[in-house]
């Protein structure tokens, strides 16, 4: 069985400070993991994906995530937050054989000026 837990429903940081959005997963198989971003009134957009290659994955807009199998985590980070990063972020787990795609409940990121 697969599941994904986003540990924070809301994260607020000051502009220019680091961002950390936490995601833990459970999977009976070697998972594929993704982060999507959803800006208000816009469609979901892929930020980055892990598919069993390098454990440190770099995505768009300066975001990156590290796959840690021992901790079953795939946390999203960014060194310096920008006002335009304010959005909802979703962690997603999938496995090709299981053919299941599961979204986390989302983390709303707010940026303080």
């Amino acid at each position: 069985a697969q599941s994904v837990t986003q540990l924070d429903s809301h994260v607020s940081v000051s502009e220019g400070t680091p961002v950390l959005l936490r995601c833990n997963y459970s999977s009976s198989y070697s998972p594929s993991l993704f982060w999507y971003v959803q800006h208000p009134n816009k469609g979901l957009q892929l930020l980055l994906k892990y598919t069993s290659a390098a454990t440190l994955v770099k995505g768009i807009n300066g975001f990156e995530a590290e796959f840690k199998k021992s901790e079953t985590s795939f946390h999203l980070t960014k060194p310096s937050a920008h006002m335009s990063d304010a959005a909802e972020y979703f962690c997603v787990v999938s496995h090709s054989s299981a053919s299941k795609i599961i979204f986390g409940s989302g983390t709303r990121l707010s940026i303080r000026p």
Binding site: S32, G43, L44, F103
Partner: protein, 116 residues
């Protein structure tokens, strides 16, 4: 390249009425997905098509929801009759690769359904 198109963008209906949503995926994308996103929650996969065949509909409430993808291109999702708890945003997505591999899903803007 045109993105995933969905219509209508907004729909308000009374409970027990029926409603249909339409999706046109990106040209050439074999796989099409319908998701339900209730306010404050992540999207939940309702049904996944590969071409015009169903890959996964395990979370589709089949007593009231139906979906089809004739000719393996456009798709429609129907709810009949609607319930209050069906109020949500319905997202359509498409991707290049079919079941057996995961590729990036491209999402449409969604249809916001309100059931009164």
């Amino acid at each position: 390249e045109a993105g995933v198109a969905q219509s209508p963008r907004y729909k308000i209906i009374e409970k027990r009425q029926s409603v249909a949503f339409w999706c046109n995926p990106i040209s050439g994308h074999a796989t099409l997905y319908w998701y339900q996103q209730i306010l404050g929650q992540g999207p939940k996969l309702l049904i996944q098509f590969q071409n015009n065949g169903v890959v996964d509909d395990s979370q589709l409430p089949k007593d009231r929801f139906s979906a089809e993808r004739l000719k393996g291109v456009d798709s429609t999702l129907k709810i009949q009759p609607a319930k209050l708890e069906d109020s949500a945003v319905y997202l359509c997505a498409s991707s290049l690769v079919a079941a057996g591999g995961y590729n990036e899903q491209f999402f449409g803007p969604g249809t916001r359904l309100t059931v009164l």
